[in-house]
Symmetry: C2
Subunit: 168 residues, 2 copies
Amino acid sequence: MELQEAKLKYIHTWGSLATSWGINKTMAQVHALLLVSTEPLSAEDIMETLKISRGNVNMNVRALIDWGIVSKEFVVGERKEFFVADKDIWELFKQVTKERKKREIEPVLKVLEELQKDVQENTEEAAAFKKVMNDLSSVTNTVNGILDKAIKADEHWLLSSFTKMIKK
Amino acid sequence: MELQEAKLKYIHTWGSLATSWGINKTMAQVHALLLVSTEPLSAEDIMETLKISRGNVNMNVRALIDWGIVSKEFVVGERKEFFVADKDIWELFKQVTKERKKREIEPVLKVLEELQKDVQENTEEAAAFKKVMNDLSSVTNTVNGILDKAIKADEHWLLSSFTKMIKK
DNA sequence: TTTAATTTTCAATAATTACTGAAAGTTTAA
DNA sequence: TTAAACTTTCAGTAATTATTGAAAATTAAA
C-alpha cells in the first residue's frame, strides 16, 4: 500500500471508530491527519485533505486545542496559523484520559453522592436504592483512582507495574 | 427527597450522561429503571414510566440483553415477559467493559496492525508513520491487557492490588 | 384448529447533531 | 491609518440517529 493511501485509510478509519466512542467524527479525523503529518498544517491544508469547510476546521481544531492534544505553531515567513499534534502517544492517552475523567466521570460521582444523601426514608426499598447508588459510587471511585494513577505514570512504569501485579 | 423522585432523577441523569459515553439515552434509562426496581418489569411498565413507545422499549431491552446486562424473567401466572437488571454493580462494570473492549478496542488493534504491515516504503516519512501506528498499538495493547485482567478479577482483589501497586 | 395476547419489525417521521458559507471580527503589514 | 490577510461566529441547512405506531409474526390458551 502507498504511504499516502495508508495515511488516508488511517484517518478515515479513525473517524468512524471515534463515533462509537462518542467523539465527533471530524474532530477525530483532524487529529488523525495532524498525527500522521510530518509538517504543521494550516486551516487550508486541513480543508483540502478532508474536504470540509473552513468553519468546520476552525471549530474542530479549537476543540482539539481545548482538549490539550493539538497546538498552534508559527512557521517562519507565514502569517497564518499552523497546527500540530503531539506525536507522543502515551502523552496523548494520558491527556484524553484526564479530560474524559473530568468531563464524564467526575459529574457522575457528584450525582450519585447527592442522591444517596438526599433520600431520608428508612424503608427496605430506600435501603436497596441507596445500596445501588453506593455500589455505583464505589466502583466508579475505584476506576477513577486507577485513572488518576495512570495519568501521572510514565508508560514503562505503568506497564511493568501491571505486569508484576498480574503475574501475582 | 422522596424515594420515587430520587429514582427518577437517577434515571434521567443517567440518560444524559450516557450520551457523552456514546450510549443511546433511552437504553441507559431503561437499564437505570430496571436497576432501581425491586420487581421485574414488563414492557408496559417501562413504556409508562419512561413515556416511550412499545417499539422503542422492545429495541432497547433487546440491546441490553445483547450486552448481557439485562435478562428476561418469568412471573408466575403472567403470560407476558418481564425484565430484570443484575444488581451486582461490579459484575455490571465487568460486563460493560468486556463488551466495549470487544466492540471498540479490538477492531482498532486490527486496523493499526494492518496499516503497519501493508506499507512497504522505506523512506523516513514511512518510518515515522509506522512508528505512530506502532505506538498506538502498543498503548492500546497495554490498556487492553489491563482491561482483560479487570474483567477476570473480583472487585476486592482489583482494588487491593491497585492500592499496593500505587503505594510502591 | 382458532383466536386472543403478546412481541417484533420497519417505513415514516421526529429529534438531534454536525456542517456550510458568508458576514463580522481581528490582526498585521504597508 | 487603511486595507488585505486571516480567523471566528452562527443562522440556515444537511446528515445522522432515534422514535413512533401500526401491521406482521409469533406464541399459547381455549
